[in-house]
Point group: C2
Chain length 207, copies 2
DNA sequence: GCTTGAATTGAACGGATGTTCAATTAACCT
DNA sequence: AGGTTAATTGAACATCCGTTCAATTCAAGC
């Protein structure tokens, strides 16, 4: 009927975030009702509005926070090395970063349609920053003669699509370890750009 | 108030199909109401139920028909050639076939969540058939020494994800022609599998 | 121990949703 | 011309939706 024993705003906020991410990934933003979400957390629907002003703001916050984390963590991971090394860093970072956030990754491109135009524009800007970062690596590598000729923007998008394809079939209880998947995908990425070391990188036996 | 002059079931059915595909791709299945869809076609909502028993059946029919067409057209396109040639045929077919059906392609992997479990299983079965067809080409090419070592299933899924990435950024009024995009993507696919002719296939100037 | 604020509730509101159905009109067939 | 069927409608139904709000209980600070 009112405040319940042991209730804590911070813990509730986190529980809502987790449940929302999981359920939206499962059934979709539009299909998820605030009542269903609240039930999952063990709350009444009205309690949700203490943490988010409305449903749309909740979705935006989920995606926006995800993008901020992604950009921040990637900035830390960069090493300023040669383009071919940097591309491997990117590939492994992308998989490793999203591994425990696979639902958020899923949302970040499945639920763009559900954002208002203003919110969409803000997310897309951050997403473009990420894409362009990869494109810059590709362009530098191409100019240095490390990679084949290519349209860097198109190739960058293709590589990200390829990597995100993981979300389609990956299951956490699957037979392939994260390290093995990293190797497999890095192998493919290296080949897409024509990086020479792709030929020597045969780590597939672990699969 | 009742039947309107010039009304024709077949034409209406097609108009509904077209509008539903377009609008679901735009806003999502759950977000699209039957009233909104009917309005787009110039009908009352009740009229839709003459063509589909319910909303879920409509979505299923859209996806199911799309998959049937895809499988049928691909079966016709196959040439029984060597794996490397067959892979090029597949790549170009995939792009060419979906070019005028880009909304349907979008639906066929964005709206899987919106299907009932039974309907999902039926679509997934057809989708798996397509994936396995590609995997078989890869496996044969690998055994023939035409392609690099790889896990054919994983690589097949990655290639399809890479190709479907087109839907993320492709705009029909964009500056790159379909032929040029075909060349770019075939180039990438060839490199992913380590097909030798990838090195000679430099068609990027057209972009 | 009293007060202040944080956390949560049930009930309610207005509107939208998918779907049904009897009624109505146009086209087609003989 | 008349009868049958195809195509469409408006109104209605029950249910669910996001959201608000006054009321209530718990925790923390003085």
């Amino acid at each position: 009927m009112a405040r319940r024993i042991g209730s804590d705003g911070a813990r509730t906020r986190e529980a809502i975030r987790e449940a929302a991410t999981r359920l939206i990934a499962q059934v979709g933003y539009e299909a998820l009702s605030m009542r269903r979400l609240a039930e999952e957390v063990g709350l009444g629907a009205a309690a949700l509005y203490r943490y988010y002003p409305n449903k749309q703001a909740m979705l935006f916050k989920l995606l926006d926070t995800h993008m901020d984390e992604l950009l921040a963590c990637w900035a830390k991971s960069r090493q300023g090395a040669a383009p071919d090394a940097e591309l491997e860093v990117f590939t492994r970072f992308h998989i490793r970063h999203h591994w425990p956030r696979i639902d958020s990754l899923f949302l970040s491109y499945m639920e763009l349609r559900s954002l208002t135009p203003e919110n969409f524009a803000r997310i897309e800007e951050k997403r473009n920053r990420y894409d362009r970062g990869l494109a810059r690596i590709l362009e530098e590598g191409r100019r240095a003669g490390l990679f084949a000729e290519m349209d860097a923007r198109v190739t960058a998008r293709a590589i990200i699509a390829l990597l995100n394809g993981l979300t389609t079939w990956y299951r956490p209880d699957g037979p392939i370890s994260r390290e093995a998947i990293e190797d497999i995908y890095w192998n493919m990425v290296a080949r897409v750009v024509g990086a020479p070391q792709a030929e020597e990188n045969r780590c597939l036996e672990r699969a």
